[in-house]
Symmetry: C2
Subunit: 413 residues, 2 copies
């Protein structure tokens, strides 16, 4: 490990990267149709321009009445009211009013006609030709959905920075909004680095290895919805070649460049050399395991994040640094992974001074989660991600967690 | 409520619908690029054709040695070995062998050269020109990642029915697979029904209401990844018009048609009439709240699911019936919503004989979740979905849940 004293904490890395992202990337707004907005981040405040429902509605199938007219009614002394008309959903509540001694038939969702202040349910009346018999009094407001009960005028439906879910879309549709201002996607280029790498689908010659780390980054970014991701292929362990690839992506208009691989301290790993010579570093090395060689820098004015070539270490760098940095930069709410609390099936010692990301499998017993850490060493162990359900973060300033301790587990989504 | 005695349980509805889906829809396979496979469901078993790593690799930067040569070494009596060459990741392990008294420099990830059975870390040697001094013995296998340690030959990476995540993509890439057989998406048409409905973005005349329920279904289906969703617009409350719309979607090749609205018992709601006259019912009415008018039938040979026109009830019908029915039909693993266990902040009584879906907001206190049920009545209350984090299912055969009881909460994703 070269110069570990220069390594910074995961939190410092997140803050530094977030700052550079906000300084170097101008993320304009764009207007998207609401149906295309889930997974995007709103850039503006959206308030309800009117109440929902806009007028009082019937919550049931029944008869709109004046509450006063039903006073004194009972099974033995029903009140008789004359049916004056019918109002369906979408009907005009001012067309016919309910006058004393009258009732208007209403369907569920129909507006409450003028003059009425309560609805008697079908179950509580008997229809006799043009009249109904009401057998018990109804209080004012009975079976009425009040205007604004769901969404009141001027209430906030979407804050800037909200990660849009289907529920937001429905709320927006209900107040007539069919398009939403969101941040445009972050144009992100992924470059795989390594002499030994061969793309899947091609024959593998001796000593070579299939490129896999760039694929977990690519697919996770696509899945997280806010990136427009371009995977640009494999570049050899050659400083000029790497620099050329970065230059090409910058000229194509990338906001952010992610390199995967080449971060080690071997003579073949060119990222450290590149950082020294051609870029201004943001940070170089992070006190995290796996992924301690994760670095970030500015090359040609663009932020470049250099992730490890080992799949789990690359994933950890995204999960613990880039993703939180972006959430902080755009102040995104709702971007956190789901968390469950689980009892640790065994002790998780920490390496003092390092933040560890530990994959765990979860089991449920009597409505409690138990987390079994996946102990197989090696940041290249892909199967650890397949066989687990989420991860625990052991902070750098703790001794670790004890067996039986209840700890938060972040769930893969 | 018309003929509630014919209502079936949520579980029966799921089973019946699942059976019809499997009988009526032929879901062919398609081959997709692995980068496009997350969120899709695999249709085949995928086994690893070879070990990963394929050969033993060095886990560290150091020197590949014969363990035997290091026996007896100590700080005071180091063993001197001659450096015979260097092996980088991607190098040929059979080019030069480690003979007694020799060592080969290896980088992290480099294959272990023939003859060697251990690696001494850089930290534990001193380089003197062409030789190294080893200060402590290394056991056979030390600092070596064994071939097959991550993924062993013939081990199963993907089962049929697996919902693909980024980790699967990485695993597939690592064994050279660049395309995966998945079920093609389920071609699904959504039809909104209602005289009172106006599409968002258009002016709203008196008594009309913006169409919102179809949008939560559309976006949730798109988000769930396995549907190819076509929203076809609003159809009036007219049996012929609804039937024509269904016919049109059938002729366009839809696998599944979802109607939203028109399921009530008012004279204006045409779905019950349609079910009686033109279709063979799968079920008509479900013992669930909200969403008790949820129905399903076969029209022109195609399954038609009729969801309520109220947004929350429509969502509940998808969440509790269609989604689980599809998971059962395709035997999907990994399709469940994330679950947390939370203490109920207040009693949740059940209406005997009905399954209730109750939205809750979650708060964390001392590493425990507390769930606050959202009590505002009304299946049309969209804000209930905005202000909550997930839902509790109160099964029909219980009295409900007590205050303080720990219950599973399904998290919105």
């Amino acid at each position: 490990m070269k110069r570990p004293e220069t390594f910074i904490s995961v939190n410092e890395a997140k803050i530094k990267l977030s700052k550079v992202l906000s300084e170097r990337i101008t993320l304009e707004e764009e207007l998207v149709k609401i149906v295309d907005s889930p997974g995007r981040v709103s850039s503006r405040l959206v308030k309800a321009p009117f109440n929902r429902p806009r007028v009082n509605l019937s919550a049931v199938d029944g008869y709109a009445v004046r509450s006063l007219d039903t006073i004194g009614s009972s099974t033995f002394t029903p009140v008789e009211l004359v049916i004056k008309g019918v109002l369906k959903p979408g009907g005009d509540p001012d067309e016919v009013c309910v006058e004393p001694g009258f009732a208007i038939r209403v369907h569920t969702g129909a507006p409450i006609p003028c003059g009425a202040n309560a609805v008697v349910m079908d179950e509580d009346v008997k229809v006799q030709g043009d009249t109904i018999l009401v057998f018990k009094p109804v209080a004012p407001g009975a079976n009425i959905i009040l205007k604004g009960e769901d969404i009141s005028e001027n209430s906030v439906l979407v804050e800037p920075g909200t990660l849009i879910r289907p529920a937001h879309v429905t709320a927006l549709a209900s107040i007539g909004v069919n398009a939403l201002h969101v941040y445009r996607k972050i144009r992100t280029s992924i470059i795989a680095i390594g002499d030994e790498l061969v793309e899947p689908g091609h024959p593998l010659s001796k000593g070579k290895e299939y490129n896999s780390s760039a694929y977990i980054i690519y697919t996770q970014l696509v899945r997280d919805g806010i990136f427009q991701v371009d995977y640009t292929g494999i570049v050899p362990d050659d400083t000029e070649a790497i620099l050329d690839a970065i230059k090409r992506e910058v000229s194509k208009g990338s906001d952010l460049i992610i390199t995967v691989g080449g971060t080690g301290v071997s003579e073949t790993d060119k990222i450290p050399e590149l950082l020294e010579e051609y870029s201004s570093p943001i940070f170089r090395g992070v006190r995290m395991r796996p992924g301690r060689m994760t670095s970030a820098s500015v090359v040609l004015g663009r932020p470049v994040l250099s992730l490890s070539g080992f799949p789990v270490a690359a994933w950890a760098g995204y999960e613990l640094i880039l993703r939180p940095a972006i959430a902080a930069w755009l102040n995104i709410s709702g971007f956190e992974r789901p968390v469950v609390y689980a009892y640790l099936a065994r002790r998780l010692p920490n390496i003092s001074g390092y933040t560890s990301i530990v994959r765990v499998s979860l089991a449920v017993k009597n409505g409690k989660y138990y987390a079994e850490p996946y102990m197989l060493r090696g940041s290249g162990v892909i199967s650890s991600l397949l066989r687990t359900h989420g991860y625990i973060v052991v902070p750098e300033d703790t001794e670790g967690f004890e067996e039986g301790e209840e700890v938060p587990v972040y769930i893969y989504t």
